[in-house]
Symmetry: C2
Subunit: 210 residues, 2 copies
């Protein structure tokens, strides 16, 4: 009799609603901080369905990570920078990294949580490990082309550079709140974000000069 919003049966829809709700909850409160009751409520689903589709809270967290990684790897794959000017392409790539954090605020918390748990969900996920790392390949070929044209220095390890590109943006977003409290300066404002975006591009391109 109760006119629940979830009347018709739909495996994929319910699964996705739980996944979306879990993403929000895990990002906001962490793996132990999140509540399965709250995830179910937010998804408009019955708690039992979490166990039906994902076996356990950890299974659900793993599925959230799998979707998260699939999303960013997909976006990275869609970047078509291979044919462009190396300097131009590299600054697009650094800006892409930065913007991904802006547009996906849940991303950092989920990664931090997974690292706190010693990467056990990622390690036991064949799905995550099957995703290749297109950005590293892109960086690698940009470095080669840029060095050949005399636009970049020649001694750069693409994996190290990848970590640095991610790092200069990541730390800013990850630690904004504590840094704001300590500096007494609101780093979450749009102006600060714009300033930071310019800075991270400057740092990477400045470093890459021959």
């Amino acid at each position: 009799m109760t006119a629940s919003p979830q009347r018709t049966r739909n495996r994929e829809r319910t699964r996705q609603q739980i996944l979306d709700a879990a993403t929000v909850e895990f990002a906001a409160k962490g793996l132990e901080g999140a509540r399965t009751d709250e995830i179910a409520r937010r998804a408009g689903a019955n708690k039992r369905m979490i166990y039906h589709y994902f076996t356990s809270k950890d299974g659900l967290f793993q599925a959230v990570l799998e979707e998260t990684y699939a999303n960013i790897r997909g976006a990275e794959n869609a970047l078509r920078l291979a044919s462009r000017d190396p300097v131009e392409a590299m600054s697009q790539l650094v800006a892409f990294s930065f913007d991904w954090f802006v547009d996906h605020p849940e991303f950092i918390s989920l990664l931090n949580e997974e690292n706190l748990h010693r990467a056990e969900h990622v390690r036991s996920s064949t799905q995550v490990q099957a995703l290749n790392m297109p950005l590293v390949d892109t960086i690698s070929s940009l470095l080669t082309r840029g060095a050949a044209s005399g636009q970049f220095r020649a001694d750069v390890d693409p994996v190290e550079l990848y970590i640095s590109i991610a790092g200069v943006s990541y730390f800013y977003f990850s630690n904004r709140l504590t840094l704001s409290a300590i500096f007494g300066r609101d780093l979450t404002s749009p102006e600060e974000t714009t300033r930071r975006r310019e800075h991270v591009v400057d740092v990477i391109l400045g470093y890459l000069r021959p």
Copy 2:
């Protein structure tokens, strides 16, 4: 009758033992993941003492953060780089940041946890906020001197640079385990750590070239 190792009474010792145990536990399992029973056991103290000295689990976590921040700010204060060659001093400073993470593996997890909790413990701690940020002042004067001598570019914001210096090291340590799993390359090995240390100095000094 029980010959407990904690026989004689000693306010400061017990307090410190709890704090040390809590630092380990919170860093390993997060704020909600850590167990007060386990902290007490590890400290060789009675659980009641946590509440005696720190009022609550959150109070204990705040005290851990206060000690953590006091430690790093103290070490930063002890750096005496003001009179040295700017390039030399800057690379020491970048290396200091890197080495701090090596020597204090608990540091990153605690910061991540605090950021997940929206910096609420830091914000309500007058003690943390009373610590000034000596590194930013050091960076500021190095930038001025380096620009004057023609060793550094002239347009660098010291706060942005501080965040970048921290960031290139932080992300590596923070995400080592997930990155290792995804790259299929063990980033926690001593060789990789040495390589990374050289790289982060290169990135910052490369960027700072005029």
